[in-house]
């Protein structure tokens, strides 16, 4: 049970506490970014492979979305809990869970993006002598980028939020502040952790929008895929 010992009557946010703990804040922000980045990179790599499989063997798309959908449905805390007896309170436990949640979104958007490449373009490419591999890397993937990045943005924002939950298994990035604040009933830390998580989500989302603009200079009017 929580002991209401500290900060109960204090102000909701103690700015002096935040400013005297900036070193710790940067540490946790960095940890949060690393956890998020690894999850997204691994998720992207796995879903790219799954996408290639799904496009090559159409029948596998059903089972792939079924499995990734099942992973997506397991509550995050439950998934981490399932893994704890096997991988313990570790970064690995956190990452397996985090990666699992990115797959459905990433695979679906990547497949949808590549499916959405107009047939006349792929036909033109075939006529120009593109083989399957070059077609994928040089035609389909670049043209699908806006949709893929739309998926990546959703996955990124979701992951940033989920990283806070991993505080319960000894990781957590800025979620560490939330957990510690909760443990000693210190609202400043709870607010700090939550606010930092939102700021990180918005910042990464913005960075991905910028990345999309940089990677798709031909797209003047961009469609938003929420």
């Amino acid at each position: 049970m929580i002991v209401l010992a500290q900060g109960d009557s204090g102000p909701f946010i103690r700015w002096d506490w935040i400013f005297s703990h900036l070193d710790e804040v940067w540490d946790k922000v960095f940890e949060h970014l690393v956890l998020t980045f690894i999850a997204l990179a691994a998720g992207m790599a796995i879903s790219l492979v799954l996408t290639v499989v799904a496009l090559r063997y159409r029948r596998s798309y059903g089972p792939i979305t079924w499995v990734t959908g099942a992973l997506y449905t397991i509550p995050s805390l439950a998934l981490f809990a399932f893994l704890v007896p096997i991988t313990g309170f570790s970064v690995l436990t956190a990452e397996i869970g985090l990666v699992s949640y990115t797959l459905l979104i990433l695979v679906r958007n990547t497949v949808a993006g590549i499916d959405g490449v107009p047939a006349d373009i792929t036909e033109a490419a075939i006529a120009m002598g593109y083989d399957r591999r070059r077609m994928f890397w040089e035609i389909e993937l670049p043209l699908a980028l806006p949709v893929i990045i739309a998926g990546l943005r959703i996955a990124a924002v979701t992951t940033v939020g989920l990283v806070t939950v991993t505080a319960l298994i000894g990781q957590g990035g800025v979620g560490f502040f939330i957990l510690r604040g909760l443990g000693r009933f210190f609202s400043t830390e709870i607010v700090l952790g939550t606010a930092l998580s939102v700021i990180l989500a918005v910042a990464i989302d913005g960075a991905l929008i910028a990345l999309e603009r940089a990677l798709t200079p031909w797209a003047k009017t961009r469609e938003r895929v929420a």
Partner: protein, 256 residues
Amino acid sequence: MIAFLEELAQWFVDNWSGSSGYIVRTWEHVQVSGAAVLAAVIIALPIAAWLGHVARGGLVAVSIVNIGRALPSFGIVALALPITIIIADNVGFISSGLGFFPTFIALFALALPPVFTNTYTGIRSVSPDIVESARGMGLGEMRILREVELPLASAVVLAGIRTSAVQVVATAPLGALVGYGGLGRYIIDGFAVQDDIEIVAGALLVALLSVATELVFGLIERRVVPPMLQTKRPGRLPPEAVAHQEPALPVAVDSV
């Protein structure tokens, strides 16, 4: 592995009854989740439906999804605690800021976005021709909304409520951190004392409950949604999937 499974089975035999048994814990879990989703539907559905009907507030609808996604559920549950304690100190009839109340407030906040967005999007995606002909037949605006638009949008609206419910059931375990019961108790307590059996048992119960929630909504969909509009495969669609299927929403496009 075999020994582990035996112990796990034994746990389920030993821990079903009493105030900390999993029957009571499941009921607590369902109670707070149900209350939160119900409150979210009562608040968000009418507002979103009306906004969709008058075709206003598209920017709000999109912003709500984005904000909802960026808010960490763990942070919301934790934040609810100091807030509800302040409320409990100042409002006479709320006796405790611990347990049910902060869990409910947090889950309610998390349940709002999908209900709001899907209702709004669902109403907006009803063909204007149909609405126009209903108007031509002399139906009032409220009747158009209730008898034409909402039934046609019911699949999307219900998908939003289902998304909310599944998300709420999945997040309710965190209520154990703010003094509530529910199935999260087993996971959180198991973490604290490093009891793998209790952790896995709790995780299993939480996962089962969220699958059960999906199934229940599948049944509700079959009863509520007009047969022609039912989705063939009531699979697991996260909120973005629903938004994805409705790219025709003009407000969603120009509001980046």
